[in-house]
C-alpha cells in the first residue's frame, strides 16, 4: 500500500530546470490547490485585523454561521474538493515515513498511539483529524481564530477527532511556552512566512531530540511560477494578485539547507503528481511543483 516511490535526497539536483508544465490538467489542479491555500492555513493575508477581543463569547448565530462555513470547508464535493483529493497522498507520505522512523507497525490502525504531534497552520483541521484517527495526540494551531472555530466544530462531530487540542496561536508562541512534540508537521505554510530560517528554527525547537519534522511547500521552479502565480493569479483569478511571491518559494535544496541549519536532517522527499485520467494524486519523484520533506531533529 505504501510502496510508492519516494524521492531520495541524492537525486535532488536531477530535477531542476525541467521543462514547463506537462499538461493543462496538471497545471490547472496545482494552481487550484495553490488557490485554496490562503483559506486552508494560517495565512496572514487571509486574515483581517478583526480579533478575538470583539468576539470574546460565541452566540448562537455566530455558531450557526461558522457551522455553515465548516460544512462547506469540509464538503468533499465542494469548493475545497481538490484539497480533499490530495490530502490522502500527503497522509500516505507522513504515515509511511513516520511509521518507519518511530518503528511502528504499518498495518496498525492507530500506529501513532502515544505520540504527540503538532499540526502548524492546521486550518479547518483537514490534516489534524486523520492524524488523530491514526492514534496521535494532536495539537492543531492556527493564528486565524476563524479557522480554529471551524476546526473545533467539525472535530466534535467525531468522538475520535474531538480529542484534538486546537489552539489559536503560533509556532513561536508554543516555543515560548516550551512545548515539545514527537512530530512537527507544517504543510503549505513555509512559503508564506517572512523568515523561513526563523520559522524552521521554531519548528526545530518544538521537536524533541530524534523527533520528526514534515514540511510541504511549492518549489521555486518555472513550472511552479506558471501554475501557482501566472495562472492562478493573473489568468484564472482564483487568487488575488500578489498572493504568492515566487521569490519567496523555496527550492528543495534551499529547504534542506535551511532545515540543516536548524538542526534537522532531511531524510526523504517526494513530489506530488496529479493524474488527470484517474483524478488522483500520487507520490512521485518529481519535486518540480509541490513537494514534501521529512527530516529528523539531530540529537544534541
Amino acid at each position: 500500500m505504501f510502496s510508492r516511490s519516494l524521492y531520495r535526497l541524492r537525486n535532488l539536483s536531477r530535477h531542476n530546470g525541467r521543462s514547463f508544465y506537462n499538461s493543462s490538467s496538471y497545471f490547472k489542479h496545482s494552481a487550484l490547490i495553490t488557490a485554496f491555500q490562503p483559506l486552508l492555513h494560517n495565512k496572514p493575508y487571509a486574515t483581517t485585523t478583526q480579533h478575538a477581543a470583539s468576539t470574546s463569547s460565541l452566540n448562537q448565530t455566530e455558531l450557526a454561521k461558522f457551522a455553515a462555513i465548516a460544512e462547506s470547508w469540509w464538503d468533499a464535493e465542494g469548493p475545497f474538493k481538490p484539497l480533499h483529493v490530495m490530502n490522502p497522498t500527503r497522509l500516505a507520505f507522513i504515515r509511511s515515513t513516520l511509521c518507519r522512523h518511530f518503528g511502528k507497525d504499518p498495518f496498525s490502525v492507530r500506529p501513532f498511539e502515544g505520540l504527540k504531534f503538532v499540526d502548524v497552520g492546521c486550518g479547518g483541521g483537514i490534516l489534524s483529524e486523520p492524524l488523530a484517527r491514526m492514534g496521535a495526540s494532536v495539537t492543531g494551531i492556527d493564528a486565524v481564530d476563524k479557522n480554529i472555530k471551524i476546526a473545533r466544530l467539525h472535530a466534535d462531530l467525531d468522538p475520535v477527532a474531538s480529542s484534538i487540542e486546537y489552539q489559536c496561536t503560533t509556532a513561536e508562541n508554543l516555543v515560548e511556552e516550551q512545548k515539545k512534540f514527537d512530530a512537527v508537521i507544517a504543510l503549505e505554510v513555509i512559503e508564506h512566512v517572512a523568515d523561513p530560517a526563523e520559522f524552521c528554527k521554531s519548528l526545530s525547537a518544538l521537536t524533541v531530540s530524534n523527533g520528526a519534522t514534515v514540511i510541504s511547500t511549492i518549489n521555486r521552479s518555472m513550472r511552479a511560477y506558471a501554475t501557482a502565480i501566472v495562472a492562478a493569479e493573473y489568468i484564472l483569478h482564483w487568487l488575488p494578485k500578489g498572493t504568492h511571491e515566487w521569490s519567496s518559494f523555496l527550492t528543495p535544496e534551499e529547504l534542506v539547507m535551511t532545515l540543516q541549519r536548524a538542526s534537522i536532517s532531511v531524510e526523504e522527499m517526494a513530489g506530488f503528481a496529479y493524474n488527470p485520467l484517474t483524478g488522483q494524486w500520487s507520490l512521485s519523484d518529481d519535486v518540480g511543483v509541490n513537494f514534501i520533506a521529512f527530516g529528523i531533529k539531530n540529537s544534541e
Partner: protein, 503 residues
C-alpha cells in the same frame, strides 16, 4: 503590492491580543465540549452504547455479495477492527442451514471466475466451498444455431488450470457465513429490513443536539430499531432500497426475455460449460458436479411460462432440441481452422485452437423445480453518495449470459474493501465521498465495459438476419482461430483484465 503581512507582525499582533484570544478559544472549545456525547463508539465492543447502536459500516443485504464484503473486511489488517452491522431478515444468517450432499443441486448457481476464486481464497472462504458440491470446468464451447459460428475455449489456451467453477448460490452463501463465524469481527446481525434512511445534511449537522450522531447515516429498520453508521453499504440486490432511499437513479431496460433455470441429469459426467445461441436467446448447460448440469435458458416470457409448466418428458425433449438436434446444423469444426491458418497464430502445438466441435451431453432427467425470471439490464448512475455505497446487483444487473453478474459483484467487494483499507490507513472518514469515489472510478469503468459486451452479445443474437448471422459467425471463428485474441477473451472472462480486447 504584496498583501503578505509578515508572520512577525502577525505574531506580535497575536501576542498583543494573546490574552483575549486565549480566552476566546478556550471559551469556544469549552462551550462546544459541553455538548454531551451520547457515545464513544470506538471504545465499545459491539458498537452499542446507551441503546443507540452505532457502527462503522452497515451492510444492508446479507446475501452473497454483502457477506463477502463482511468477510473481506474481517480478513484485512486495516479493516478487521471495524464494527459491522448486517441488516437482513433472512433467517439463514442466524441459524445456519445445513446443506445435504445427497440433495440434487439447487438450480440457482453461479459461475465463478478465477478472479472470484482468488478473492474467496484470500478471505478464507474457498475451503468451505470445497467441502460442498462444486464443479470446476476447463473447457467451454460456444456455438450458434446457424452452424457457422463456433468457438471452443480451453483453459490451456491461457495457461490456466480452470476457466471457472460452478457453485450453487446457497453453497457460496453458506461458505461465507461459516468463514465469517471464524473471524474475529465486531459484527451485529439485525434480522430486519430497512424501512427508511436519513443521511447527514448541513442543517442536521449544525443544529443537531447529539453532534456525533448528526454526522452519521441513520437507518430505521422494520422492527423499530434505529442504527447509526459512518458508511451504509447497499448490497440489497437489483431492487435496492438503499439505492432508492439515497436517490440514486438508474439506467436500464428490460430485454422482454425470461430465463428458465433448472438442474438436469445426464448419463455421464460433464466438465465443459456449453452455450448455444438460438434465435430466441442462448441456452447454457453448466456442469455442477457428478452427472448433474445446470440449465440457463433464455426465451420469450410466454415460452418461459410454457416451459415451466410443460411435462418433464416434453421439457427434456425441448432442451435436447435446443442444445443440439433442433434449429440449424452442427458446425463444421474446421471451417476456417487448421491448415490454412499460418502457424504464427498458434502459440504452441498443444493449443486447443484447432480442437473440434463436440456434441453436448444428452439430458435425461430434470431433478429440480423449473424457475423462470424476467431479464433486465440496470446500471446505477452513481455508485456512491455521502455515507452510501452500492455494490453488486444494487449497482448493476446484467443479462445472466456469461455468468458474469455475481463476479462483477465480487470484484466490487474486492475493490471496496481495498479502498476502505486505504482510507483507514490515512485516517480518512470512511463515509467520505472523496474516498468512495475511488471505488466508483475503479469499478464503473470495468462494469460498464462488461455490461456493454454482454448486452452486445444479447443484441447480436436477438436479430435473425442473414448478413448479421454471417458477421457473427465470422467474429466467432475469428475468436476461435486467432490465439492472442482467444487468450485475451479468456483472461477477460476470468476477471483478470478490466477491459476487453485492450492489452
Amino acid at each position: 503590492m504584496s498583501r503578505l503581512i509578515t508572520t512577525k507582525r502577525l505574531a506580535s499582533n497575536i501576542f498583543t491580543f494573546k490574552q483575549a484570544s486565549r480566552t476566546f478559544c478556550n471559551d469556544a472549545s469549552t462551550k462546544l465540549n459541553n455538548v454531551p456525547f451520547e457515545t464513544q463508539f470506538n471504545k465499545e465492543d459491539e458498537g452499542v452504547t446507551n441503546d443507540v447502536p452505532q457502527h462503522d459500516i452497515a451492510i444492508v443485504g446479507g446475501g452473497m455479495v454483502g457477506m463477502a464484503l463482511a468477510c473481506s473486511l474481517a480478513s484485512m489488517p486495516l479493516t478487521k477492527h471495524l464494527s459491522i452491522a448486517i441488516i437482513d431478515s433472512n433467517p439463514a444468517l442466524t441459524n445456519m442451514p445445513s446443506i445435504k450432499k445427497d440433495d440434487p443441486p439447487d438450480p440457482r448457481v453461479s459461475t465463478v471466475t478465477p478472479a472470484t476464486i482468488s478473492l474467496f481464497k484470500g478471505i478464507g472462504a474457498w475451503e468451505f466451498v470445497e467441502q460442498h458440491r462444486h464443479a470446476y470446468f476447463d473447457k467451454m464451447q460456444v456455438w450458434d444455431y446457424t452452424g457457422f459460428g463456433f468457438t471452443r475455449y480451453n483453459a490451456r489456451d491461457a495457461d490456466k488450470d480452470v476457466l471457472g467453477c460452478v457453485v450453487e448460490n446457497k453453497v457460496l452463501h453458506k461458505s461465507l457465513l461459516s468463514c465469517l463465524q471464524k473471524k474475529d469481527l465486531k459484527k451485529t446481525i439485525y434480522p430486519a429490513r430497512l424501512s427508511s434512511m436519513s443521511l447527514p445534511t448541513r442543517s442536521s449537522v449544525s443544529n443537531g443536539s447529539s453532534k456525533s450522531l448528526a454526522n452519521l447515516a441513520k437507518l430505521e429498520l422494520t422492527d423499530g430499531t434505529n442504527v447509526y453508521a459512518k458508511l451504509v453499504v447497499g448490497s440489497d440486490g437489483n431492487k435496492s432500497r438503499v439505492r432508492e432511499l439515497s436517490g440514486i437513479k438508474t439506467t436500464g431496460w428490460n430485454y422482454s426475455q425470461s430465463a428458465v433455470i433448472c438442474t438436469v441429469e445426464h448419463p455421464s459426467e460433464n466438465s465443459t460449460a456449453w452455450q448455444r445461441f438460438l434465435p430466441a436467446g442462448p441456452i447454457a448447460l453448466l456442469p455442477i458436479g457428478n452427472n448433474f448440469s445446470n440449465i440457463v435458458w433464455t426465451m420469450s416470457p410466454k415460452d418461459a411460462s410454457n416451459h415451466k409448466i410443460m411435462n418433464q418428458h416434453d421439457f427434456i425433449k425441448a432442451v435436447n432440441h435446443a442444445l443440439d438436434s433442433g434449429h440449424g446444423p452442427r458446425p463444421e469444426s474446421r471451417i476456417l481452422g487448421g491448415d490454412v491458418i499460418p502457424s504464427f497464430f498458434k502459440p504452441n502445438v498443444t493449443s486447443a485452437v484447432n480442437e473440434g466441435f463436440e456434441i453436448p451431453p444428452k439430458v435425461v432427467k430434470v431433478v429440480s423445480e423449473r424457475m423462470a425470471f424476467p431479464l433486465s439490464l440496470m446500471h446505477a448512475n452513481d455508485y456512491v453518495a455521502k455515507r452510501v455505497v452500492l455494490i453488486g446487483d444494487a449497482a448493476h444487473t446484467v443479462h445472466p449470459l456469461a455468468g458474469q453478474g455475481v463476479n462483477m459483484g465480487y470484484a466490487d467487494v474486492a475493490a471496496l474493501s481495498n479502498v476502505i483499507g486505504d482510507g483507514v490507513a490515512v485516517g480518512s472518514d470512511i463515509g467520505e465521498v472523496t474516498l468512495l469515489k475511488k471505488y466508483e472510478t475503479e469499478r464503473k469503468t470495468a462494469n460498464i465495459a462488461m455490461m456493454a459486451v454482454l448486452d452486445g452479445f444479447q443484441k447480436a443474437y436477438s436479430v435473425d438476419f442473414g448478413p448479421l448471422n454471417i458477421l457473427r459467425a465470422a467474429a466467432f471463428n475469428g475468436a476461435n482461430v486467432f490465439a492472442p485474441l482467444k487468450r485475451n477473451i479468456i483472461s477477460y472472462a476470468s476477471g483478470e483484465r478490466s477491459l476487453p480486447f485492450l492489452s
